[in-house]
Amino acid sequence: MFVILKDLLKRDKKFLFGFIVVCILVFLAILSIFSPYDPRSWSVVPKDRPPSFQYILGTNSMGQDIFWNTTHALKNSFVLGITTAVVATIIGTIVGLIAGYRGGTLDKVLMSINDSFIVLPSLPILVFLSFSLRGKMTMFVLGLTLSVFSWPWGGKQVRAQVLSLREREFTYTSVFSGMNMWKVVFREHLPFVIPWVIANFINTILWALGMEITLSVLGLTSLETPTIGTTIHWAMQYQAIFRGIWWWLLTPIILCVLLFVALYMLSVSISEFLDPRTRLQRIKMGG
């Protein structure tokens, strides 16, 4: 594992970039533990100060330190993204693997559930849910809710892959080697599907972050919790741009772009690395 990481860092610039950026952002998120201020309290520092030595990223109109607030925002956004992605990916992958492998009635049932979730209009429902649950909606609960809408996409992709894998001779070899369904699915088919799963995992994080920003900008999440979205929301609420407090709006936007680009790079690079074709080449080269 460590060797692979070293290899990727050394050989793949995309991975290097993505990895470094994500590491820095994670480090910032961890810093939130040492935050001297409670992110929910207002007026703990002077208002509207531009970036300086004392306040690295300045302060906002609510009297909060933007740097420390951002560390909390990052932490919350990460929690949200990862919760959504983990839950959605696990459900999607398992459903896809089983539906694809077993086929028949089970496949039909699972896929009709899958399709019904796909056709659900996610944004209106989320808007409605957030509106009615406002305040009770922690990052974790929001993550779970989002995962309900995002698992079917991954599930469908995985199933399509498995459908073709199922007809390959090695699947029959493993069946006649006496392996049961779980062994065949997880040992034989999963390695082929992993690149898609990882790409999906990262895409789901991106989607969840985007969704959170959308909802927050609309003012539909618990606005006292700092996230990238709520930061943008407040900055716009206080018309930061017109009042020249550019650092307030720019910080979350830059972070957001950095995070999106970095995650995308990681996704591309890992998929490439795990692609069965390039893996086969590496096996051939004995490395």
Binding site: S174, F176, G178, P191
Partner: protein, 337 residues
């Protein structure tokens, strides 16, 4: 009457192409019956061209496909009635497949030996790692390999011949009575092909394994088989002792097929021209004899009436040329032989 290892009774398989209602029906296997004696191991070949139904037949025997009608029984048990996992394992322990493409037989992302150890473990043949290794080593030895050669290797690190041997070794671990080999040498390099073919006849002699050899290659079929069935568009048109069928073929299709086999003989080049088949689906759905359009000795009856299988000169043949004669002699049809 001796006990039967495998009995295939009037098996029919119909595929629906392009949807159940709007599509056409394709009879991939049409009323095929044969049996294999359990006392006397043999190599039984099913030969035919692409789309003759030989692979579908093999898949049905392996339980990967259900017959539309008819039944397949193994040691008296109906294969399609297998429901429970224990029963399935019991059956798979006895009947093992060898596949066509050795590079596809094993997952390219996994090490080859893992399949051998899995087989030993999953059928409860061995508990400890050492016992498993012993079984694996034995199986590999019987195909002329050692554990050292395959251990820790990925499929693309081995040659086609080595992989096909490993595939046979894996199948042998459970000590099966029946091996179903679907085109096992067509993807193996020419210089190694005969060693794999020889392996099958050695296994028959030494381990009493019956091999169902499915191929389009009549030359290797002649080389190793005891009996042969020639298939055409789902029908078994001629079935019997290998020397009878291949050295003095009766069915016009078998005759043309044998004439078309290129012989590795620099003198024996073909002289006359032959007729090629038209559309495949047309032949499949033909009411009478499937070979009617191409047959040099086609009669009127062949167009509409499906010929019956009759017993003639030591083999079964499905052709009006012989069944007509047969009727005149007014003999009864033997069901099987």
């Amino acid at each position: 009457m001796s006990r039967k290892l495998l009995e295939v009774k009037s098996v029919v398989k119909i595929f629906h192409i392009g949807g159940r209602f709007l599509g056409t029906k394709l009879k991939a296997v049409n009323n095929v019956s044969f049996d294999i004696d359990s006392e006397k191991p043999e190599i039984l070949t099913f030969a035919g061209e692409t789309g003759s139904g030989k692979t579908t037949l093999a898949r049905m025997i392996l339980g990967l496909e259900q017959p539309t009608s008819g039944e397949i029984t193994y040691k008296g048990k109906n294969v399609s009635h297998i429901q429970k996992r224990e029963e399935l394992l019991e059956y798979m322990k006895e009947v093992q497949p060898i596949f066509q493409n050795p590079f596809e037989t094993f997952n390219p992302l996994r090490k080859v030996d893992s399949y051998l150890f899995e087989t030993a473990g999953n059928y409860n043949l061995a508990k400890t790692k050492g016992e498993k290794a012993k079984l694996v080593e034995e199986a590999l030895k019987s195909v002329g390999l050692t554990l050292n050669e395959v251990q820790g290797r990925y499929p693309n690190e081995l040659s086609g011949g080595q992989l096909q041997r490993t595939s046979v070794a894996r199948a042998l671990i459970t000590r099966p009575s029946l091996l179903i080999a679907d085109e096992p040498v067509s993807m193996v390099d020419a210089s190694l092909r005969m060693s794999i073919v020889n392996l099958f006849s050695d296994l028959k002699e030494e381990y009493n394994v019956t091999v169902l050899y499915i191929t389009h290659d009549l030359a290797t079929a002649y080389y190793i088989s005891d009996r042969i069935a020639i298939m055409l568009r789902g029908d078994v048109v001629e079935f019997g002792n290998i020397d009878k069928v291949m050295l003095s073929p009766l069915h016009p299709y078998t005759q043309i097929l044998l004439k078309s086999v290129p012989q590795p003989d620099p003198e024996g080049t073909w002289k006359e021209d032959i007729k090629l088949s038209s559309l495949e689906v047309k032949e499949f759905s033909r009411l009478g004899c499937k070979f009617y359009e191409r047959c040099p000795s086609a009669m009127k009856i062949c167009e509409e009436v499906e010929p019956l299988s009759v017993f003639r000169d030591g083999r079964e043949v499905k052709c009006h040329l012989y069944s007509e004669e047969f009727k005149k002699e007014e003999e009864t049809l033997p069901g099987s032989f």
